[in-house]
């Protein structure tokens, strides 16, 4: 049973100018002088309410930095809400940052296994899928090579093939992925369509406003961490278009 519920969800976090604090600075500065590395509070999501049932296809739109990807990561369980309630029921699979997280020293086959384990597979189920993943990636003998010798394109091919070899109940997608060369892109788009059709529930972040109404039945327009509008996809997209267009004319 796939279900997503966000109730009054807020997400705030502190960032610092410098990446981290040093222990000796922390001890010395706390005692003797004000910090030269002040923290900043980021209110990334404000009072988000969302309820999705089986069959829903939600598109998230908005300008850069509006909190689109943050919502997705919150739904995936990577960020925890600072306040409010989050309920996500169903097996989640997320397609974002997929090119990250490879073990350079290990070869393609090994990487297929352990990335699949992370997606909740078991050795038995991986053994059954390995061949299909390898075939889809079209990497052939390169799979016997450590992945640190792979080109960026090959890496993405492998990542995409692994990440889409599952049948998710809840599918979270960030942007339309541009993967590999032209031939592979077409194949990847086909695979994405299949996956989206199979998923019980889908949330997708995209800037492709034309494709959005075909993929989604509902949409959320995010603005500075808040929901500006929510409703049927076509309406929200139209409202967003109007506002962006208005800005362009005013400028």
């Amino acid at each position: 049973m796939a279900r997503i519920e966000l109730e009054q969800v807020n997400l705030t976090f502190h960032v610092r100018q410098e990446r981290g604090v040093r222990l000796k600075d922390f001890i010395l500065k706390r005692l003797f002088m004000p910090s030269r590395n002040p923290g900043m509070k980021v209110h990334a999501l404000r009072d988000i309410n969302l309820r999705l049932e089986r069959g829903d296809r939600l598109g998230i739109i908005g300008h850069n930095g509006a909190g689109k990807s943050t919502i997705l990561k919150l739904l995936a369980g990577i960020y925890q809400p600072s306040s409010g309630r989050r309920v996500v029921e169903g097996r989640v699979s997320s397609l974002f940052d997929i090119a990250l997280g490879f073990e350079g020293e290990a070869n393609g086959w090994e990487n297929i296994s352990f990335r699949s384990y992370l997606q909740g597979e078991t050795p038995t189920s991986v053994r059954a899928k390995k061949q299909a993943i390898a075939e889809f990636s079209e990497l052939g003998d390169f799979l016997n090579m450590p992945v640190r010798f792979y080109s960026a394109g090959m890496m993405v091919r492998l990542a995409f093939s692994i990440a889409t070899a599952i049948e998710p109940e809840i599918l979270l997608v960030d942007e339309v992925l541009s993967v590999g060369d032209l031939a592979f892109q077409n194949k990847a788009r086909e695979r994405m369509r299949e996956m989206m059709a199979k998923a019980h529930l889908m949330v997708v972040v995209s800037h492709d406003l034309d494709a959005m109404p075909q993929m989604c039945n509902r949409a959320v327009w995010m603005d500075h961490g808040q929901v500006r509008a929510m409703g049927p996809c076509a309406e929200v997209v139209a409202a967003y278009r109007a506002s962006v267009g208005g800005h362009a004319i005013a400028a």
Partner: protein, 274 residues
């Protein structure tokens, strides 16, 4: 708590395969194979034996196994702590993609270190068996044979379990600390160097029995009971006393409680500090 452990268990295939991969890539293409794990403690043991032989006229047949067990133990502790400092940075790309429990990332290093430790201990047991103590003297039984010595070895099983818990919790603690404070690793390396000399790795506490204050200080070292747990069965063919087990268990308990508390606070916001 139970749910958390359940989540760790659920992704066991993931962290186990990472450990396996680490070991394989370490051994790959090296003629030494498993001896890789032993290279460092054996080389160090040789050096220390030579030094102590010339400087202090130490008898080698008792000293070599003593140093070797000490260094094997120390190797595990320092690997857990030092590699622990980098564990969350190492796992950052996974942390950013999958909501797995944070405690699995330190587990990767600790299990790798445990593997090397296990091989070291097995060699130590073999040495202890061949060059071990005179069992007839220890048991006060003139007809005792070397094989009776083996009976004390199963006492190492709970020891290994305790060590694993200790290594894991230390790794978590230092990992979280170094995410918060970037110079943790640097400071820890220095502190470990000092700790090495304060731990009876290349000597025994009895070496200093004339210096009461130093002996008292050494007894405060929380790592001492673990060394006793390892050395008693291997070097002296004795099952360690319950008090030694209790002391070690208490140390492990403190370390684990600290790690659980730290995880509870940091687990949710760790990602924002990476």
């Amino acid at each position: 708590m139970q749910a958390y452990l359940g989540a760790i268990w659920k992704c066991r295939f993931f962290w186990l395969s990472l450990v396996k991969m680490d070991l394989r890539s370490r051994y790959r293409g090296s003629l030494l194979g498993l001896c890789w794990s032993l290279l460092h403690p054996i080389a160090m043991t040789t050096i220390l034996c030579v030094v102590f032989r010339f400087a202090f006229h130490q008898a080698l047949d008792t000293y070599a196994p003593l140093v070797f067990t000490g260094l094997t133990f120390w190797g595990f502790i320092s690997a857990s702590v030092i590699q622990g400092c980098g564990c969350f940075f190492q796992g950052e790309s996974y942390i950013r993609q999958f909501p797995a429990p944070m405690a699995i990332y330190p587990l990767r290093n600790v299990l790798g270190a445990a593997f090397h430790f296990g091989i070291g201990i097995m060699l130590a047991m073999a040495i202890g068996f061949v060059y071990g103590p005179d069992v007839r003297e220890i048991y006060g039984n003139p007809s005792a044979t070397r094989f009776q010595q083996l009976l004390s070895l199963p006492s190492l099983l709970p020891t290994c379990l305790l060590l694993l818990m200790l290594g894991w919790s230390l790794s978590i603690l230092f990992g979280l600390l170094s995410v918060r404070f970037r110079d943790t690793r640097h400071l820890t390396e220095i502190a470990l160097q000092g700790m090495f000399y304060l731990t009876p790795v290349m000597y025994t506490i009895d070496t200093f029995k004339n210096q009461q204050r130093l002996t008292r200080l050494l007894h405060c070292n929380p790592l001492v009971p673990f060394l006793d747990l390892i050395r008693e069965p291997i070097l002296f063919a004795r099952v360690p006393s319950l008090a030694t087990y209790a002391a070690s268990a208490a140390v492990v308990m403190v370390s684990v409680l600290l790690a659980v508390a730290a995880l509870r606070i940091e687990e949710r916001r760790l990602i924002f500090h990476l």
